[in-house]
Symmetry: C2
Subunit: 411 residues, 2 copies
Amino acid sequence: MITVNENFLKLQAGYLFPEIGKRRRAFQQAHPDAKIISMGIGDVTQPIAPAVIEAMHKAVDEMGKKETFHGYDDGGIGYAFLREAITKNDFRSRGVSIDIDEIFVSDGAKSDTANIQELFGLDNIIAVADPVYPVYVDTNVMAGRTGAVAGQGTYLKIVYMPATADNNFVPELPKEKADMIYLCFPNNPTGAVATKEQLKKWVDYAKENKAVILFDAAYEAYISDSQIPHSIYEIEGAKEVAIEFRSFSKTAGFTGLRCAFTVVPKELRAFTRAGQSVALNPLWNRRLCTKFNGVSYVTQSAAAAVYADEGKKQIRKTIDIYMNNAKVIRESLTTLGYKVYGGINAPYIWVKTPEGVGSWQFFDLLLNKAHVVTTPGAGFGPAGEGYVRLTAFGNPPDVVEALGRIKAISK
Amino acid sequence: MITVNENFLKLQAGYLFPEIGKRRRAFQQAHPDAKIISMGIGDVTQPIAPAVIEAMHKAVDEMGKKETFHGYDDGGIGYAFLREAITKNDFRSRGVSIDIDEIFVSDGAKSDTANIQELFGLDNIIAVADPVYPVYVDTNVMAGRTGAVAGQGTYLKIVYMPATADNNFVPELPKEKADMIYLCFPNNPTGAVATKEQLKKWVDYAKENKAVILFDAAYEAYISDSQIPHSIYEIEGAKEVAIEFRSFSKTAGFTGLRCAFTVVPKELRAFTRAGQSVALNPLWNRRLCTKFNGVSYVTQSAAAAVYADEGKKQIRKTIDIYMNNAKVIRESLTTLGYKVYGGINAPYIWVKTPEGVGSWQFFDLLLNKAHVVTTPGAGFGPAGEGYVRLTAFGNPPDVVEALGRIKAISK
């Protein structure tokens, strides 16, 4: 008899974003004339940069001619031309040395942060911030690395590290044993960033405890403060303990093109139960060449264009548009008396809900009264209760209009 | 202490194709002037069809304008325009009714056949043909569903079903208990096909034993015999027991563009250990929306163009080129006294090695003497020993040249 993976049945109903989509659609059906503005799901609105479009047209033409046609990306881990651009621009330029064999190109940071847990034993304890991007948790639930639901959206056998206004949304080191530590800076959902000193504490902790840090840096392009590290590898010794995830989704608007990459340093090791150390770089390579066949040549050509001079300038302009949105959101809501966090080094703004109003309640209120979609903080974990997340990825006129509507109902 | 997933350490050295690539590169380095012809890895050589190129240019332009920009593929399971084209052309046209909610678009059949096992309990016994596409086996090894290596490239706790010349390379029903049955028709690597009667036996077996059939139909476009089913759903009752995998890689030359889809019928169920039945369609949906973010809009637009009139005609021409290669390979090798199988309803030709010459030995001989890369049958399992696989995906002049060289060394 075919049995089901019962770990899937532990998952709580509805992944956060589909649930939001469902409520949005239900509202739209009931109010067909309402012009809903989304500040919820972190999808971008600005078009792909002209230099990237040009590179894609060129790549498409190459695919149409026998002499320049590209089949499988040999090895499935990304073309050397892209991995070389990555190591030069994202790492060498910041004084970090990453070999191109340590870079693995993929279809998304969601896929990679979801799949990376496969490399590790089921006996490891995971630690996540609370609130947290749900993918880190749900994928470990599916794998059987957690216990059952413990209430308030949490699971047994996970170490939750509260990120609150009191600690500036940078969690403290866990007191419990933790082997796989997920960190995300600039943070989704709170928009917080970590300093070098703060990250160094985590690297030291991981070394001492033989833990691995899974560092999600998908939003690094939004850092405006020159003192804030863009990569965990800017911290000495991090290559021995950390895997880093990057994405073109928010950097260059690739949510609909799908390209990201993951860095697995050669120094990084895990251990057998008998204590033998095993390098993780060849293991991730093996996983990819067994379960994945690489990213579209057209998309990889697009990603490479992000690093060329024209591309760099153009994507910077788009990021500036979004960060101006963030500024407008922060300032407007502050004026209205809301307490807001983030939005300075990150495209997310973390807004405290009015006294006595829960996250989903505030979500429903903004949807019903202002026709604005947000993301309820409680969807990211118990410590997210009492907050909603706004994203800065809207069209500027929509952002202004949304804030006007929020103002109208806040009187 | 971070522990490694020790199941990965059970894997035998080198996934087949990287090993072939390694030997090829070593030979090329030692003989820089040798013009190696690949008939090994199943990569295509003909360019993307003009109608598909045109659709991609259009999609790229859309991505460059704010009004027509596409971000996340909502839900991550494929645009309705593509899933509608699929259900109409691949299924309804053959009398099979598949709802678009049963179709999940992905980046490759390799990914899907690799990932599908996550839905099932680790206690299930998998059954695979021998020889077999290594992905089915290796991904179950990684998950811990098998035992250790048992010798000759096999693993304990897997039911191997020999596919030999005696059974026309269509395996018999297993005598042992089997819960997850991987079938691939047209077959990779043997090029064999299964009749409706043969598939019906499998569907009946699965129903009786509450097993699930994982049916890989990535090569269905190469079927020339009108009596051979293209989909397992042409067999009555198959929707209750089978998942089907399709791909644009070989159908339309998308190896470098990455698009495929998987059908998970709503009727299909697995069971908890307590005997409760669980529908697999929502489970696969949940897996995708948690671990995946959909396929590039440009690629999905390309895939949809494969189903338009012009696209259909153009991809048919390319398939004809490949199937003519297959004919040339079959006839030439037969004339040289080789025993050959497949290549009539499939792009693979399965060639018996000369008496007393092993698979890898014949691979090395053809590489060293004829500068032709093949795939050693033994790499697909013990019953593949004594065979090599040739693919029909070469450039026609290269195929002719390769056969001339093989003729020269066969005297």
